[in-house]
């Protein structure tokens, strides 16, 4: 979840722990039932609404949880603006500002206690297949301790969400995904705000702009740019910045956002998500469905580990079996659909799945890092003996088979990788150097002065970046890309009146997405969000969803009135006749 700066934390970023990736990681926090061992003693937020009298028709004061303005200014401003529109339709809103840790802890572990929260989902390559968001966010099986933290429950949705998982026919699956988005459009379980744009920039005198790839939903900071970028001058090292420090380099541990960019380059995968967002064979020469539950991957010839050993089918099988036990809790779910992995001859691997799973190419074959059996088998055995898992282990010199080799890691300073000339898709650059730069203004200055030549992490004001690019006479190129993630206001369906879809539609109508995009994202750094499947995923995003673009307080009040709601003399919202405040 948090992160981004920070948000820094292991599963994505954010974090970041950043910090970047901590936020991102936390956002993905899911099933943790019963694990609230140390949940700090926060009082229930519901206590704030204790003022509402039992038996009264008046809707209690409701709280919106949000991080401090300094952490994510856009989020905070979005909430302030939305709260104002909701007050206009009779809600008594209190904006509760709290640190990210406290907010996430409340939302995830005390699911009965909060009314509304600001939230965001971040984009990551495996989310380019809509399955993760479709299933995890709104399927009722994840209400209790999973990602459906708002508590949205709709049997019709559940049925379609399960159907799209096993539908291997692309056209038929697209149709199901459209229907799912239409249900969400009608029910408005979230008040969607925007799909933010990811802003990255690079020096056009150092890197040939034609070789910098803008990947769908991800932006120009991606695998294809890193292997493909062609140097134009003597400077053949790519120097990038990260705001959150790398915590670990481990192919069996998703330790953060910045970390994942490094692991992706050192360790190769059977398939890779291409710039259009679709999985393509990569370390595998080809991947074929033999039947609904059987996949056959043919390995490329002459693949080598960085220590000079050949990559064999045994290594591939080991790479998919190792995370299945207790060694890699974070990768375990991605191999869960596999029933068996077996060798066919000396260059083919057969994956037998437990049931048809359309997204497996993206979430399985494009996700798992290939690891050398000769290195990891003894390591894992040793770790198992000590009773700890692979996350606790850091290789002295990481060995993969990817396009970049590990050179050096100065903690909290920089990571140096060098091009693997023997790779089948050998990078054009000499070295890939990622510098820790917690100060985003210094990173932008460094890009202008040439200290870095690829701005790969920028959370500052996009207008400043735009100005820097505009005034550079073309020396800097800014690329702004719609991402797969989105920002939204999440109401808790467990608590009246938010379980009522009419109320949520009225809220969406009152808020209006245009004014958020225009006022807070300067119109051009975000796109209105209307679905959990981003507009970046053109192949999956349903057309003609309700857009709730313009704020219309009158129409919102009409929706509430029609659903039986009323207002008291002070203008505050009353429940329909016969219904009273129960909290």
């Amino acid at each position: 979840m948090r992160n981004r700066r920070n948000r820094q934390a292991p599963t994505d970023q954010r974090l970041a722990m950043s910090d970047l990736n901590r936020r991102d990681l936390l956002k993905r926090a899911g099933a943790v039932g019963g694990a609230t061992v140390l949940a700090g003693g926060l009082g229930s937020l519901g206590a704030a609404s204790a003022a509402a009298q039992d038996g009264s028709r008046r809707v209690r004061q409701v709280s919106v949880l949000v991080e401090p303005q300094a952490n994510v200014p856009e989020q905070f401003e979005t909430i302030q603006l939305s709260a104002q529109r909701l007050r206009d339709i009779g809600f008594d809103i209190e904006v509760a500002v709290m640190p990210w840790e406290q907010q996430s802890d409340t939302v995830w572990f005390d699911r009965e206690t909060w009314d509304m929260t600001a939230w965001q989902m971040v984009g990551r390559p495996e989310r380019l297949d809509p399955d993760e968001f479709i299933y995890n966010l709104f399927h009722s099986s994840t209400i209790e301790d999973g990602y459906n933290f708002v508590g949205y429950s709709n049997p019709a949705y559940d049925e379609l969400a399960e159907a799209q998982r096993v539908e291997v026919d692309h056209e038929a699956r697209v149709e199901l995904v459209y229907q799912l988005q239409e249900i969400i459009g009608a029910d408005q379980p979230y008040m969607f705000a925007v799909y933010p744009h990811e802003n990255y920039a690079f020096s056009t005198s150092v890197w040939d702009p034609a070789t910098v790839v803008d990947a769908k939903g991800i932006g120009i900071k991606n695998y294809w740019t890193f292997v493909g970028a062609a140097p134009l001058s003597d400077q053949t090292d790519m120097i990038l910045n990260t705001q959150s420090s790398v915590q670990a380099m481990n192919p069996l541990y998703i330790s953060g956002g910045a970390d994942s960019w490094v692991t992706e380059l050192i360790w190769d995968r059977l398939m890779r998500i291409d710039a259009a967002g679709l999985p393509q064979p990569y370390a595998a020469e080809s991947v074929e469905w033999a039947d609904d539950t059987t996949l056959v991957a043919t390995l490329r010839p002459d693949l080598m580990w960085h220590d000079g050993q050949p990559v064999t089918v045994e290594d591939v099988i080991f790479s998919f079996q190792a995370p299945a036990g207790e060694m890699s809790p974070m990768y375990k779910p991605f191999v869960a659909p596999i029933e068996a992995v077996t060798a066919v001859g000396d260059n083919q691997v057969e994956f037998k799945l437990l049931e048809p799973f359309a997204a497996f190419l993206t979430s399985g074959l494009s996700k798992l890092n290939l690891i050398p059996k000769h290195i990891w088998e003894p390591v894992l055995a040793d770790l198992a003996e000590q009773g700890i898992n692979a996350e606790q282990y850091q290789e002295e010199t990481p060995i993969g088979s990817g396009p970049f080799k590990y050179v050096n890691w100065a903690r909290n300073q920089e990571i140096i990788l060098e091009a693997n000339a023997d790779h089948f898709n050998a990078p054009k650059m000499t070295r890939w150097i990622m510098r820790d730069m917690p100060n985003v203004a210094a990173a932008l200055g460094g890009l202008q002065s040439g200290e870095i030549n690829f701005l790969s992490d920028y959370t500052g004001d996009p207008t400043l970046l735009q100005q820097a690019a505009d005034s550079s006479d073309g020396a800097l190129s800014l690329v702004s890309t719609i991402v797969v993630g989105f920002r939204f206001l999440a109401p808790n369906h467990r608590r009246a009146p938010f379980g009522d879809a009419a109320v949520r539609r009225a809220m969406a109508t009152a808020i209006g997405r245009d004014q958020i995009r225009i006022n807070i994202y300067k119109d051009i750094y975000a796109t209105n969000a209307d679905s959990h499947v981003s507009k970046a995923l053109e192949a999956w995003h349903a057309p003609d969803l309700p857009d709730y673009a313009v704020s219309d307080v009158e129409a919102a009040r009409a929706i509430l009135a029609e659903a039986g709601y009323d207002w008291d003399d002070d203008g505050f919202l009353l429940y329909p006749d016969g219904q009273t405040e129960t909290l």
């Binding site: 948090r2 722990m17 936390l26 099933a31 926060l42 100060n439």
Partner: protein, 331 residues
Amino acid sequence: MPPRAVYFIRRLGQMILVLWAIATILFLIFRLMPGNPLVAFIDPTFTAEQAEAISRQFGLDQPLPVQYGLYLKNIVTGNFGTSFFQKEPVLGILLEVFPNTILLTGISLTAAYVFGVIAGSVLAWRRGGKLEGAGIVFALMTRSAPEFFVGMLALAFFSFNLGWFPSSGVASPGTIYDSVFQQLTSADFWRHLALPALTLAIYLQGLPLLLMRSNMLEVLDEDFVTMARMTGLPEWRVMLSHAARNALLPIVTALTLGIGYAIGGNVIVETVFSWPGLGRVLVRAVQSHDYPLAQGAFFLIAVVIVGLNFMADIIYSVLDPRVSTARQEVA
């Protein structure tokens, strides 16, 4: 037993008591903070069972008293544990950034105190002059300007505008050093150190400057200064050998404390200049609920501060025996 030995033992006992209290507060403070470290670890696809396994792995499933007992035992044996996130021994992580912090703060402190003492003496000597008026305004301005503001100005001017110094880090991109010694003796390192050290020194010089000035003003009224003047010594000798020497004593006390606090690193300067020091590690550890790392860092800082105080006490008791015997009489 001689009074001094009794005093020594009593102070040692007090020091251990203080460290135990600090350790206990550190233990509780992180566990009472909102949020919990598991949140940072959790993947949406985790099952409750997996989450519990992680919790077990860190000992977070144990009751608090048990966790506390283990914690104290580890501290006594010098084991600060393994960082939750970096998966490495806490001591190693801290020692890796320690030289950077020591150098940055050491150099800044030295520069700030040398400048502050001299400038403070001069301002006191020129009491009532234009120089004093301007100097006080300068000292107050630099003392109250936020470090990040001074830092960004220094960056904008010396780095981005003039290009004299690099803007971030401790080394140029792609530099690999074989040893800390090699790093510290390279010109590249010192070029990177210049701006952060300057920023920190500008921030730190205000205190010694103002302190020195007021001490000097007091000392200048003392009889022995009048006496020195009457003996016909040149003014500069009166100022340096007689007045300044005596005015320095409180500065030494301030410096001792300053060193202690500076060990904690300087989060703001380290962040502005991307300086890999203890402050940044500490802040990130706190944000991510990395208990072992944060506790280890705070505890080390506490040991250094308490230890320096202890040494100062002992030295004082040697320099001025009244310090130890006075306590005896009270007892």
